[in-house]
């Protein structure tokens, strides 16, 4: 017992190497991306403090709710949850991918689901107009027609930045004219209806862009995985018909370990982007990489070489 103080002394001394080890561990945690950042908003800090040991679990439980809302069609309610799950587990790629999909595809569709109903009602209304009404409300009719055209073009022509600029400027033009009409003693309800219709393409553009943004944010947290590059590339390709961007992101995707279909989509994207030679080279590469794609690839190459176009 005489040397008991040695025990205490050694114990306290050991805190020194412990400290150095901790510093090294902290560094490793940063390096290997095991660290999660701290949000200083008091509410969020408190929340994160409480959850710290069970982040994964919390994320999963929130995810269940996301699924719930999706299946019951309450798309808007999914959004704050998606943000929360993404914040809790930013390296969980699925969240970003699904979130982006919900925004750019599902909500995109949902904001326009009343469009046909409203425009039909408007059509019906027109049948009750007098000649004077028809003259007064001509701008409304034009606006509605233009709106429909824009909606079609959004879906058929795409949503590149240039196209979107065009759509928006056309919408603004009509909005200005309608505003002018409103000042005169016009039927408020009618004007409101048309205004609502004009909002739809805006909303669609908004949600498409939100989806793209969300995916981009996800990429910043997961820059070494192919998944979100592919999701974004696919969104640009399929939804946005924005081929330059599609190619850009798909090319990034193939830089990381990835499944074969990524190369397949890239080949199609090259073609749509006008880079026929690249497309052919990509198909040829795909044959070497994945023999199961041989027949498709050969047909694509043949069509590209003879017709200059293969993808329908």
């Amino acid at each position: 017992m005489k040397k008991n103080w040695v025990n205490l002394f050694v114990a306290l001394l050991l805190f020194i190497p412990l400290r150095f080890l901790q510093v090294s561990i902290d560094y490793s945690r940063k390096l290997e991306d095991l660290e999660t950042g701290l949000l200083l908003l008091p509410g969020q800090a408190a929340g994160s403090l409480v959850l710290s040991g069970f982040k994964g679990l919390a994320a999963d439980l929130l995810w269940l709710n996301v699924e719930e809302y999706w299946h019951s069609g309450q798309h808007y309610k999914m959004l704050p949850l998606l943000e929360a799950v993404a914040w809790l587990q930013p390296t969980y790629v699925t969240v970003w991918a699904v979130g982006g999909w919900h925004m750019a595809y599902n909500i995109y569709v949902q904001v326009g689901q009343d469009e046909s109903k409203i425009s039909e009602a408007f059509q019906k209304q027109q049948e009750t107009w007098s000649a004077g009404d028809r003259a007064k409300y001509e701008v409304l009719v034009e606006a509605v027609r233009e709106n429909k055209a824009i909606l079609q073009q959004l879906d058929k022509k795409g949503k590149t930045d240039e196209l979107v600029k065009d759509y928006l400027s056309r919408l603004e033009k009509y909005q200005a004219r309608i505003a002018a009409l409103e000042e005169k003693e016009a039927d408020k309800k009618l004007v409101e209806t048309v205004k609502t219709l004009l909002e739809i393409p805006r909303n669609k553009i908004f949600w498409y862009r939100q989806g793209v943004q969300f995916l981009k944010k996800g990429i910043t947290y997961n820059p070494d995985k192919y998944d979100l590059y592919f999701e974004l590339g696919w969104t640009y390709y399929h939804k946005g018909m924005d081929y330059p961007n599609a190619v850009k992101y798909l090319e990034k995707a193939i830089k990381h370990p990835h499944p074969d279909y990524v190369d397949d989509v890239l080949a199609h994207a090259y073609e749509k982007n006008g880079q026929i030679d690249r497309a052919i080279a990509q198909w040829e590469y795909l044959i070497t990489r994945a023999p199961s794609f041989r027949s498709i690839a050969e047909r694509m190459i043949h069509d590209l070489k003879t017709k200059g176009k293969a993808t329908p």
């Binding site: 017992m1 008991n4 103080w5 025990n7 205490l8 050694v10 114990a11 050991l14 805190f15 190497p17 412990l18 400290r19 080890l21 901790q22 090294s24 561990i25 902290d26 490793s28 945690r29 290997e32 991306d33 095991l34 660290e35 999660t36 950042g37 701290l38 200083l40 800090a45 994160s48 403090l49 710290s52 040991g53 069970f54 982040k55 994964g56 679990l57 994320a59 999963d60 995810w63 269940l64 699924e67 587990q89 390296t91 969980y92 790629v93 699925t94």
Partner: protein
């Protein structure tokens, strides 16, 4: 050395009669089992769910077993007066403390393996072969549990059970938050606060070091180097705790 083992065996044997440990173990198994019922998710999500739930359950219930196991180890001997007989035997007090700790290791090992086997069994049942990363994560959790146990044991050498249980839980929670604390402290300008924070950060056991499951669950590998560092941290801290326990117990009058 043999005497340490004899005491350890006795401690383990005694734990088999502690009902609390069984309850905790069963709870742990139930929770892991419950994760199976999320089959309405996609296969990949379900797997992640099972892993998240199981890791959390193993860590949490494991911590409970570590704390409850170590809690009674010394106080039960004192309450039952068996300690007088024991100390009259040709053993030193450090034999006693280390023997108790080795007993804790046995207790944790058995319970931990049961929980893990159940977890791995569930994974295999879902046709997912657990990779080495999962075992790394489990191994780190085990070292963490040993650490929790050693600290509770050290506390038991000089505090009452009531204080110990509250403080051990408190330390468990705080130990998970130290890295957040550190980030906060980094942003202050106040030197005194910084120094104090620094000291606290070193002293409080950093249980977050052992938490690699976030990465493992999304399939990202963690380096062996990191595992090595963290295990070393755990071992050093365990030694510190045991030494302090020995120191306090050698001064203790019963």
């Amino acid at each position: 050395m043999k005497k340490i083992w004899v005491i350890a065996q006795n401690t383990f044997h005694e734990s088999l009669r502690k009902r609390t440990l069984y309850i905790v173990l069963v709870f742990g198994l139930v929770v892991i089992g419950a994760s199976k019922f999320f089959s309405f998710l996609t296969a990949q999500e379900e797997l992640k769910m099972i892993q998240d739930v199981s890791f959390s359950a193993i860590e949490f219930f494991g911590a409970l077993i570590a704390i409850f196991g170590a809690l009674g180890a010394i106080s039960s001997e004192i309450e039952k007066r068996t300690i007088y007989t024991l100390l009259s035997k040709p053993i030193t007090r450090y034999h006693f403390v280390i023997g108790k700790f080795v007993g804790q290791i046995l207790i944790l090992l058995v319970n931990f393996l049961l929980l893990c086997l159940f977890f791995v069994g569930l994974l295999l049942f879902k046709k997912s072969v657990p990779n080495i990363e999962i075992f790394k994560a489990l191994f780190l959790i085990f070292v963490e549990l040993l650490l929790i146990s050693s600290i509770t044991l050290a506390l038991a050498t000089f505090t009452s059970d009531a204080f110990n249980i509250i403080f051990s839980f408190f330390l468990y929670i705080v130990g998970h938050l130290t890295s957040y604390g550190r980030q906060l402290i980094e942003r202050t300008e106040n030197i005194i606060l910084k120094g104090l924070g620094d000291m606290l950060y070193t002293i409080v056991p950093n249980y977050e070091n052992f938490a690699i499951r976030d990465k493992v669950v999304v399939g990202v590998p963690v380096s062996w180097q990191y595992v090595g560092k963290t295990v070393s941290y755990g071992l050093i801290y365990i030694v510190i705790a045991i030494l302090i326990g020995i120191y306090c117990f050698q001064k203790r009058e019963v």
